[in-house]
């Protein structure tokens, strides 16, 4: 049975349809990339799975996770899943952390919600988690406020929060778009390792084809709220069926060729 099954999902803002009749499934341990341009509905889809849609949005259809229909749950029931069975990493590492709260306490939050740990025990766990996401001097880091950390460090904190309870599904929404390329490389490497260690499934949302194809096995190409193509990475590159996927791949290939023209020999 699939871990996650999305069927005929439609999301509307008022009369505007932003996600249109979306269906896909994700097995346990599978890594799915969702690629698309801005406004294609990829972020909204991931928020819908987490039950974090804005109040103004309405979702119909079905999202089944571990056999449970999520769309019928209320906020309280849904919160048992969030941060526990599924975790999410967001795009903006700066604004995604509470500026007035020490990061240790923010990492401890999911543990306190779902593991019934005391504040002290959860903070001790937070230090371990900092260590796991490769932050130096974790004892000091947990006492820092977000503004005292760099972008890469903040995104590692985001990852620590999302993975604190070893979720079955990790959703990463453009997790490296706001980062410098050198930092992006490190964070992607880390995410790759952690997801492999945890054995969790991954939904990786991005507009960047090279990044998505490096992180995932299957890719769903989204355009104006619809999945236009959903296949394995190699199939997509060998045999893109949709016009839009073809264009994406051609552009990415051309850009890479241009770059390689200069940078042959480096890797």
């Amino acid at each position: 049975m699939s871990l996650l099954e999305v069927t005929n999902l439609v999301i509307r803002f008022g009369d505007k349809v932003v996600v249109d009749d979306l269906s896909f499934a994700l097995d346990a341990g599978e890594r799915l990339g969702i690629i698309g341009e801005s406004g294609s509905g990829k972020t909204i889809t991931s928020l819908a799975i987490m039950g974090l849609l804005p109040e103004t949005a309405t979702a119909t259809g079905s999202i089944r996770f571990e056999g449970q229909e999520l769309l019928s749950l209320n906020d309280r029931e849904m919160s048992a899943y969030r941060g526990n069975r599924m975790g999410m990493v967001f795009q903006e590492p700066l604004t995604s952390l509470n500026p007035l709260m020490r990061v240790g306490k923010q990492i401890a939050q999911p543990l306190r919600n779902h593991r019934d740990l005391s504040l002290k025990a959860s903070l001790a766990r937070a230090i371990e988690l900092c260590n796991r996401v490769g932050l130096p001097d974790p004892e000091r880091i947990v006492r820092a406020y977000p503004h005292q950390l760099s972008g890469g460090q903040r995104q590692r904190i985001g990852l620590a929060i999302a993975l604190a309870c070893s979720p079955a599904l990790l959703i990463a929404d453009e997790p490296t778009t706001a980062l410098d390329v050198t930092v992006q490389k490190e964070v992607l490497k880390l995410m790759n390792e952690l997801v492999a260690q945890e054995g969790s499934s991954l939904i990786f949302v991005s507009h960047d084809l090279p990044v998505v194809s490096a992180m995932t096995e299957t890719i769903a190409v989204m355009r104006s709220g619809k999945i236009v193509e959903h296949t394995t990475v190699s199939e997509l590159f060998h045999n893109p069926r949709h016009e839009y996927s073809r264009k994406l791949i051609d552009t990415a290939r051309a850009t890479e060729a241009e770059f390689k023209r200069f940078a042959i020999g480096t890797s």
Partner: protein
């Protein structure tokens, strides 16, 4: 006090007040009392004295102005404090509630309810409250203040209750609006979403992450509202015939007691700046970004 005022924009305040308002009154004084020292000298001499807490004596009644102000403040300050506490205690929970039920409450209802609170003139609220609680039910006195002062604290509180409620309603409506919009702002922040993604419900996330973040703008608004509170106090004192600073000020204006008006206004303005400075300092202390830098 002198040093403090020097450090604050407050010293400018009084200087400005001197330029704006006092020279004219000093001109008047010169005509009445035949003083012919240059205005600037006069101002600085008054200013110098005022900073040492010496406002001089009233030109008409000969009372020491500083003493008189302190005396009257015993009514006005408790009134303002009482009203602020009342206003905060209903405005913040209500504002947050309205924000959390943003969609259901949204649009016309919230707007009208809070706007109504702002639109109703303070004196009218006072009059209505007097009609209901003093005239019809006779629970509270309709006005006045015990002559013996705070030694009869129970009856003092009793006579301050209606005025404080009057003052708190208007201020609270304003604060509620800010509390609501500050909360809505927090709800739309990315970190609020992160907090919910850790498994908090909206209500829990608001309690843990929202209150402090929303409180900062609300308290800073309260700081800016000190001025409005004082105006409100003047009006309320007049409605309820409370012997406070406002009442005194109105009487002094009526009898053209310029030195006293000048002293009272200066003292009030200084108080406003002092309180806003205190609130500023408090807010900076609450914000880790301004508190410590790496």
């Amino acid at each position: 006090m002198f040093l403090l005022l020097r450090l604050l924009p407050g010293d400018l305040a009084i200087a400005k007040l001197g330029i704006d308002a006092t020279p004219e009154s000093i001109v008047q004084l010169q005509q009445e009392f035949g003083l012919d020292r240059p205005i600037i000298t006069q101002f600085f001499s008054w200013f110098g004295h005022a900073l040492r807490g010496d406002m001089g004596v009233s030109m008409l009644t000969g009372v020491d102005i500083a003493d008189e102000i302190i005396n009257k403040a015993k009514v006005t300050l408790p009134l303002i404090a009482f009203a602020s506490v009342l206003a905060l205690s209903f405005a913040i929970p209500l504002g947050m509630y309205a924000a959390l039920h943003f969609r259901r409450w949204d649009g016309i209802s919230t707007s009208v309810v809070s706007q109504l609170g702002i639109a109703v003139p303070t004196f009218w609220v006072g009059v209505i409250l007097v009609t209901i609680f003093a005239v019809i039910f006779q629970i509270f006195p309709s006005g006045g203040f015990p002559d013996v002062g705070w030694s009869a604290w129970a009856s003092c509180l009793k006579s301050l209750t209606l005025p404080a409620i009057t003052l708190a309603l208007g201020q609270g409506a304003m604060l509620m609006r800010f509390a609501r919009s500050a909360t809505i702002d927090v709800i739309q922040q990315d970190y609020f979403r992160t907090a919910r993604a850790t498994g908090l419900t909206r209500g829990q996330a608001l309690r843990i992450h929202g209150v402090r973040n929303a409180l900062i703008p609300v308290v800073s608004v309260l700081g800016m509202q000190i001025a409005t509170l004082i105006v409100g106090a003047i009006i309320v004192e007049s409605v309820f015939a409370l012997p406070g600073i406002g009442q005194m000020l109105l009487q002094d204006v009526g009898i053209n007691d310029y030195t006293k008006v000048q002293g009272t206004v200066a003292a009030t303005t200084a108080a406003v700046f002092f309180v806003s400075f205190l609130i500023d300092v408090t807010l900076n202390a609450l914000n880790p970004k301004t508190r410590q830098r790496q």
